[in-house]
C-alpha cells in the first residue's frame, strides 16, 4: 500500500516537472515582452538593460532552474504585464474561476442526472426524444458560439442579463464571492450555462446509457419478478448502480471544467484565471503563462491521484494484484 502511494507520488512529481519544463521552454519562443513593456520610444540600450534585469538574457536552463526553485515555494516571480507577484494574481483570480466552475458542475449534475434518468425510463417518449435531440446541440456546438448566442439573445435582444463581467462581489477575507448579491448571480447565469452545457449533455448521455444497461441486468428482472414497485426498482436499485461511473466521470470533469473555462471566461470577460492566461499570452507574460499551466497540471494530477487512491481502496482486486506482483 505504502509502496503504491509513494510510487504514484513520484510519478506525479515527474509529470509536474515535465509540464513545467514544457511550459517554460514553449513560452521562451512566443515573443519578447520587453518590446511591449518599453513602448516605441525606448532605445536599444534600455531594452538590453531591461532584458538583463529581468534575467531574460540568461540561458534557458538557468532560467528554468530558478523558475522551478521558486515555484516549489509557491513563488512564480513577477508578472511582466502588471508588475505584481504572479501568486497574488492567481489568488485574486481563483475565486472567480472556482465559483463559475462549481456552479457549472452543479448545474450540469442537477439537470443532466434527472434528464438522463428520464430519457432512459421513457425511452420512446416524445419529450425524451426531443431532449436527446437537443442534447446533440450541446455536444456539437463550440462553447464560444454558445456564449455569443446567449449574449445575443439574453443581453442584446431581450436585455435581461448582463453580457460581461462578474458584477457586484462581496469580500470574505481574501475570497471574493458573487453568489451573495443578486447582481453577482445575474452575471453568473449566462457564463455558467455556457460552461455547463457540454458537461450537462455528457452526463445526460452517460446516465442514460448506463441506466439502460443496468435495466437490462438480471437483478432488475428478478426485482421485477419479486413484484417490487417500479419506483423502488428504478431509484433504489438501478440508479444506485448507475451512479458509480457517473461520479468518477464527474470528478474528472471538474478538472476539465476549470481548465476549459478559458473560452467561457474570454467570451464573458469573466475575471478568472483563464482570462488572466489569455491576456498573458497576448503580452508574452511568461511567468503568468507558466504558472497557470503548472497550476492546471497540478489540479489534474491531484484529481487523478485521488481517483487512483480511491479505486485502490474501493476495488479489492487491485490490492490482490499488487501483492501478487511482488513475486515477480
Amino acid at each position: 500500500m505504502l509502496v503504491f502511494i509513494i510510487r504514484r507520488l513520484i510519478q506525479a512529481v515527474l509529470v509536474m516537472l515535465t509540464v513545467s519544463l514544457l511550459a517554460f521552454v514553449l513560452f521562451r519562443y512566443i515573443g519578447d515582452p520587453v518590446t511591449i513593456m518599453l513602448g516605441q520610444d525606448a532605445t536599444e540600450q534600455d531594452r538590453v538593460q531591461l532584458r538583463a534585469s529581468l534575467g531574460l538574457d540568461q540561458p534557458a536552463p538557468v532560467q528554468f532552474t530558478r523558475f522551478v526553485g521558486q515555484a516549489v515555494q509557491g513563488e512564480f516571480g513577477l508578472s511582466l504585464r502588471q508588475a505584481q507577484p504572479v501568486s497574488t494574481l492567481l489568488k485574486e483570480r481563483l475565486p472567480a474561476t472556482v465559483e463559475l466552475s462549481v456552479v457549472a458542475a452543479c448545474l450540469a449534475l442537477l439537470v443532466g442526472l434527472p434528464l438522463g434518468v428520464y430519457t432512459a425510463l421513457k425511452r420512446n417518449g416524445f419529450l425524451a426524444q426531443s431532449v436527446l435531440a437537443f442534447s446533440l446541440l450541446g455536444i456539437s456546438l463550440p462553447t464560444f458560439l454558445i456564449g455569443i448566442l446567449l449574449i445575443l439573445i439574453f443581453s442584446v435582444q431581450l436585455g435581461w442579463l448582463p453580457s460581461y463581467g462578474r458584477g457586484e462581489v462581496v469580500r470574505l477575507g481574501w475570497w471574493s464571492t458573487g453568489l451573495l448579491t443578486w447582481d453577482g448571480i445575474k452575471h453568473l447565469i449566462l457564463p455558467a450555462i455556457t460552461l455547463c452545457l457540454f458537461q450537462l449533455t455528457l452526463i445526460l448521455r452517460l446516465v442514460r446509457s448506463e441506466m439502460l444497461e443496468v435495466l437490462r441486468a438480471d437483478y432488475i428482472k428478478f426485482a421485477r419478478a419479486r413484484g417490487l414497485s417500479r419506483r423502488a426498482i428504478h431509484f433504489g436499485h438501478a440508479l444506485k448502480n448507475t451512479m458509480v461511473p457517473v461520479i468518477t466521470i464527474t470528478g474528472l470533469q471538474l478538472g476539465g471544467i476549470i481548465a476549459f473555462a478559458i473560452v467561457t471566461e474570454t467570451v464573458f470577460q469573466w475575471p478568472g484565471m483563464g482570462l488572466l492566461f489569455i491576456q498573458a499570452v497576448q503580452f508574452a507574460d511568461i511567468p503568468v503563462m507558466a504558472a497557470y499551466l503548472c497550476l492546471i497540471a497540478l489540479v489534474f494530477v491531484v484529481i487523478n491521484l485521488l481517483v487512483d487512491l480511491l479505486y485502490f481502496l474501493v476495488d479489492p482486486r487491485l490490492r490482490s494484484q499488487l501483492s501478487g506482483a511482488k513475486g515477480h
Binding site: D41, W182, Q269, Q282
Partner: protein
C-alpha cells in the same frame, strides 16, 4: 428572503447617486491600464488614465494647441532656460497644496532610470525651484519641442510620494509593486475611487478641481472595464452596459452605425512599409549576392504598384487617408504638397523593374503584424496582390504583435509594415526615429530598413535644436522631400479611427486616441 433583502439594499444603493445630477460614463476597450504610476509605462491607454487623475504643466486643447494647465505662463529666458509660473490655489486630491517642489520632484522622477517617460523629458537637464510659484527648466541644448513634450509629464505630489515610498517610478524588475501603481494623488478632474486590475477601474469627480467652472463635459463618474473579446465588447455597447467603446471591431461598424453612433477622425498614426536597403544581401529573398532594395528604382517601382485608393475602398471601407508623406496632418511640419502621393502607375512600375534588371524575377517576404493596426494583415494581403501584377512575388508572413515586434526590432526582416504615431505632434519625433541613421538614443531607433542619407542626418540634428521656427520648418520640409524622393519608406495611409458610443454620448475625438472623459457629455 435574504436575497430579496440584499437585492433591495443594492437597488437602494444604486438609486442614491442617480437621484442627483451625476452622470456616469462607462467605457471599454480591449486592454487594461497596466499601472497607475504616471511615469512607469509609456503607453497610450495608461496615459489616458493618468490624464484623468494627474495634470501636466501645459496641455493640449482639442486642436492640439498648447494651453496652460498647472502652469499659467511660461517664457524662454535663455535658449536653454524656460521659466514657468505655476497656478495658484491648486490642491492635490489629498488636500495638499500644489507647489514648485512638486514640479521639481516630478520632473526629476520622470528622469529617473526606471522611468519610461524619458522621451518626454528628453534634453531636460533639471528643474530648479525659483520660488514657491516659479520653476525653471534647464535643458542641455535649445529644445524647440519642450512644451509639446511636457504635455505628457504628469505632476505628482512630493510629500505623498515620499511618505508612500514611491519616489521612483514603478520598476518592473523589483519583486514588489509600488504604492503608486495602485494609488494616485493628482490635481486632475477625477480621483481614482477603486481599482480592480483587469476588472473595473472607477474614477469620481474631483469637486475641488481648479478648472471645474470651465469643464467641457458633464461626466461625474467614469467606469472603465476592459473587454477582450470583440463580440462581447460590441454586445456590451448594444445592450447598454457600456456607453462607449474605444476600439470597435471593424466587422461590427456597419451595425454600430445603425444601432449606436460612430465618431471617426484621423489618427496621428501613419502606416507605411519599410525596406531593408543596407544589407549586402536580403535575408528573405530569391535574389542572391546583391540587395535589390538598395536600388532606388526598385523602391519606386514597389511604391508605384500600390493603389492606396483601392486599399481605402476595398480593405478599409473608406476609413483611411492615403498619404505620400510619413507624418499625419495634425503633426507640425506636415504640408498638403508633401502629402501628395506619386500617382499609381503600374506600367511605369514594370518599366522600372525591368530597367533595374528584375523583370518578373523579384521575390521576397513581407512581414506584417496581424493584431496591431487596423486591418493590418488584410492591407498586406492586398499589397502582395498588387505587387504580383507588377511581376513581384512577395510572400506574406503575418504574425501576432508579441512575435512581430521583436523580430522587426532585431532587424530580422527584408520588408515590413509599420505604423508610427507622434505623441509630441512635431515631425522631429518621426524624423529622428525613422530617418536618421542609427546612432545614440532615439536616433534611428526604428529605422529598421537602415535608410541612410548624410544630408538628412545633418538636417535632423539641426532640427533638434533650431529655435527659429521658419528655419526649422524649412529643414523639416527638406528632410521629408529628400526622403520621399529617395523612397526611403513607402507611406500608405493615415489611420482613421472610429469610436463607437451610445446615441446620448457626445465626445471630442482625439487624434492621439485618448478618450478624454472630462470632455464627454452624457445627455
Amino acid at each position: 428572503m435574504k436575497k430579496t433583502l440584499l437585492a433591495a439594499t443594492l437597488a437602494a444603493l444604486v438609486a442614491v447617486p442617480l437621484a442627483g445630477h451625476a452622470k456616469t460614463l462607462k467605457w471599454s476597450s480591449q486592454g487594461d491600464f497596466m499601472t497607475m504610476d504616471p511615469h512607469a509605462q509609456n503607453e497610450n491607454l495608461i496615459i489616458t488614465a493618468s490624464s484623468y487623475v494627474y495634470e501636466p504643466l501645459v496641455d493640449y486643447d482639442k486642436d492640439f494647441k498648447i494651453v496652460p494647465s498647472l502652469a499659467t505662463a511660461w517664457e524662454q529666458r535663455e535658449p536653454t532656460v524656460w521659466r514657468f509660473t505655476l497656478r495658484d490655489g491648486v490642491k492635490f486630491h489629498n488636500g495638499e497644496p500644489f507647489t514648485a517642489d512638486d514640479v521639481v520632484f516630478s520632473i526629476q522622477r520622470a528622469l529617473a532610470p526606471t522611468s519610461n517617460f524619458k522621451a518626454y523629458v528628453n534634453g531636460v537637464e533639471k528643474a530648479v525651484k525659483v520660488d514657491e510659484k516659479t520653476v525653471d527648466i534647464i535643458t542641455s541644448a535649445p529644445n524647440p519641442v519642450l512644451l509639446r513634450q511636457l504635455t505628457n509629464v504628469f505632476i505628482m505630489n512630493k510629500d505623498w510620494s515620499e511618505k508612500n515610498k514611491a519616489t521612483q517610478p514603478q520598476d518592473f524588475n523589483k519583486n514588489e509593486e509600488t504604492y503608486s501603481s495602485r494609488n494616485t494623488n493628482g490635481t486632475g478632474p477625477y480621483k481614482l475611487k477603486s481599482r480592480e486590475v483587469d476588472v473595473r477601474t472607477v474614477f469620481v469627480e474631483n469637486e475641488q478641481w481648479w478648472n471645474k467652472d470651465k469643464k467641457i463635459g458633464n461626466v461625474t463618474e467614469v467606469i472603465y472595464t476592459p473587454i477582450k473579446q470583440n463580440a462581447t465588447r460590441t454586445a456590451a455597447l448594444l445592450s447598454g452596459e457600456v456607453d462607449l467603446v474605444l476600439d470597435p471591431p471593424a466587422q461590427d461598424l456597419q451595425r454600430l452605425r445603425q444601432q449606436a453612433k460612430i465618431v471617426e477622425g484621423n489618427e496621428y498614426r501613419t502606416i507605411f512599409l519599410g525596406l531593408d536597403q543596407k544589407s549586402p544581401e536580403l535575408k528573405y529573398s530569391s535574389i542572391k549576392g546583391k540587395n535589390p532594395f538598395a536600388d532606388q528604382r526598385v523602391r519606386e517601382a514597389l511604391y508605384l504598384a500600390i493603389d492606396t485608393e483601392a486599399i481605402k475602398k476595398a480593405v478599409m471601407r473608406g476609413s483611411s487617408a492615403p498619404t505620400g508623406t510619413m507624418i499625419a496632418p495634425q503633426v507640425h511640419g506636415w504640408t498638403q504638397a508633401l502629402a501628395q502621393r506619386v500617382p499609381y502607375d503600374l506600367n511605369k512600375s514594370k518599366q522600372l523593374l525591368k530597367d533595374a534588371g528584375y523583370e518578373n524575377s523579384l521575390s521576397f517576404t513581407l512581414d506584417c503584424p496581424n493584431n496591431r493596426y487596423i486591418n493590418d494583415e488584410a492591407i498586406c494581403q492586398a499589397i502582395v496582390g498588387m505587387w504580383a501584377k507588377a511581376g513581384v512575388k512577395a510572400t506574406l508572413n503575418a504574425m501576432p504583435r508579441a512575435t512581430y515586434f521583436p523580430k522587426v526590432q532585431n532587424y530580422d526582416t527584408s520588408a515590413y509594415m509599420f505604423g508610427w504615431g507622434v505623441p509630441t505632434f512635431d515631425a522631429l519625433y518621426t524624423l529622428q526615429s525613422l530617418m536618421h541613421s542609427k546612432g545614440q538614443g532615439a536616433d534611428g531607433s526604428f529605422n529598421f530598413g537602415n535608410y541612410n542619407n548624410a544630408e538628412v542626418d545633418t538636417l535632423i540634428d539641426q532640427i533638434k535644436t533650431e529655435t527659429d521656427t521658419a528655419k526649422r520648418d524649412a529643414a523639416i520640409h527638406k528632410v521629408l522631400e529628400i526622403h520621399a524622393k529617395e523612397f526611403g519608406h513607402i507611406p500608405l495611409h493615415d489611420q482613421i479611427i472610429p469610436w463607437a458610443m451610445a446615441k446620448n454620448v457626445d465626445v471630442i475625438h482625439r487624434a492621439d486616441n485618448r478618450m478624454a472623459a472630462q470632455w464627454v457629455t452624457v445627455k
